[in-house]
Symmetry: C2
Amino acid sequence: MTMAANTRILLAARPDGPPRPSDFRIEDAPIPEPAEGQILLRVLYLSLDPYMRGRMSAAESYAAPVEIGAVMEGGTVARVEQSRHPGYAEGDIVLSHSGWQTYALSDGTGLRKLDPAAAPVSTALGVLGMPGFTAWAGLSIIGQPKPGETVAVAAASGAVGSVVGQIARIRGARTVGIAGGPEKCAWVRNELGFDAVVDHRASDFAGQLATACPDGIDVYFENVGGKVWDAVFPLLNNHARVPVCGLIASYNARPGDIEGPDRLPGLFRAILTRSLHIRGFIQTEFADRRAEFYREAADWIASGRLRYREDIVDGLANAPQAFIGLLEGRNFGKLLIRVSDENN
Amino acid sequence: MTMAANTRILLAARPDGPPRPSDFRIEDAPIPEPAEGQILLRVLYLSLDPYMRGRMSAAESYAAPVEIGAVMEGGTVARVEQSRHPGYAEGDIVLSHSGWQTYALSDGTGLRKLDPAAAPVSTALGVLGMPGFTAWAGLSIIGQPKPGETVAVAAASGAVGSVVGQIARIRGARTVGIAGGPEKCAWVRNELGFDAVVDHRASDFAGQLATACPDGIDVYFENVGGKVWDAVFPLLNNHARVPVCGLIASYNARPGDIEGPDRLPGLFRAILTRSLHIRGFIQTEFADRRAEFYREAADWIASGRLRYREDIVDGLANAPQAFIGLLEGRNFGKLLIRVSDENN
């Protein structure tokens, strides 16, 4: 891959079920020239996140889909290579939304300058970025765990879940993580300090989760769905809160995958009889709380109370395969593509 | 029926599906004698409410079931016939929870004295009682309609729904009622002043509801479920709030009534992509707001902005049949049994 061109990954086809490599197309385009008031960005890191699966589909969602033939969208950390904008100088590092490509133009809209001395710039895409804020907002504003309550967290080794559980612990809750496989479970238990962890691949997963939650579940942070939900559901206590920010288990489902029995009546009965509180959210609706999050999270990272793990894959060309793996849980930690060299 | 005995209606059997008359048993018992510190109450009005169907079943719920052979429970307005309690005098009228019987003892626990000059005492079981407060709390605390938003209300002519819609109008929302049959619909539209009303018995009910909600639905007050939910669900806007206080359409369902397709994945997808907020509640959890409700509701009734309708059936012996009809929507207004004469 030469940096003399702008390498871009486009959406070639809308996936039917799990995305395949042929749903993406890689192409080289000329490096664009900044006009007056614009800057040229060179992408250092591309964040790969489950929500991108939604953007590949034409189905109704909270954001418009990526068009066929358009560059896949995504959060990025980038370096200013040329500036014709008074607010930016060559060498500035910014958080941007440049998508799956090596170069992009910007007029400054939506950019945030990063201080490489304060934290590794890649964390602006993870623990100190959208996933971290999603965790903080969903737990703090919707989940509202009280000391001694039980908080269950799916995808507990992931970019969001790992932060949810650690904040829940900091807030005095008992934290039970759910993760896939012994390596992730060990990390959640030993490195992140969750009170308990259960492997969703275990044959008696539901029974193990019940054992790990002897007092039931007061807050379940839902970012998975599927069989994890089925195991959590009977354990939800009266007045349990369920912030919903993702459903990765069903992102690859096909429209016809709705074989019965119908679980809706049972869910509504439980909502009524157990006064459940289920709320979907997108972190952007809580944007006015972001400064508070940065302050708290930076303190916790500095004091070692909030840990994180990055899973960095080299080269933009590997993004499709890495993304396909993300939807199958094959990453371990916040998944990032190193698009170009930070020190170059 | 002579008043020389305490006539009581007992739960004879747990219903399988819709309750039948044989699920109840009527019997006469001696009128009890108050001990020191107790009062003897003569029931004037018994409230019949959908939640009682839940108490007839052994299934898990927020309250313990009525035992087989026990008196059916229920809210009542009663007159103090004898008092050996310093806080009560003969002739006092109280709100009590005396159940389906003509006489009951009380030591004062949970009673509230009523002022017959302030409002008809029967309203303490309806618009100024548990149903009215359920409406007020669910709408004010969970629904939080903003001026100009659309609030949809099921069972709009009922004890709860009629209050929900009128409060929503007072708060400046556009209010769309759903009721069964032309008579109820006309009353909701013309007497209660809802902006629109749709008959759920119409063959193209879902289409009519969509037409009545051109800007979608921002708050849906759920006390019905079933096909009303199915019609409401696609109309829910981003950030719609759904307070759930009842599911009358499914109270008579049998455990096996869960034929597919499975609607759960579609619901969760909508919770996520439309940031829906679904919350079950029991009015008791908001008890600290009751004084505020009484104040507002009494003002609105006095000024004619909050109207109500009672459906009064004479005689305790008719309670089972009236209750069976309630679950089928055969009542029109707040259903009460006149157990004994208020002026006697």
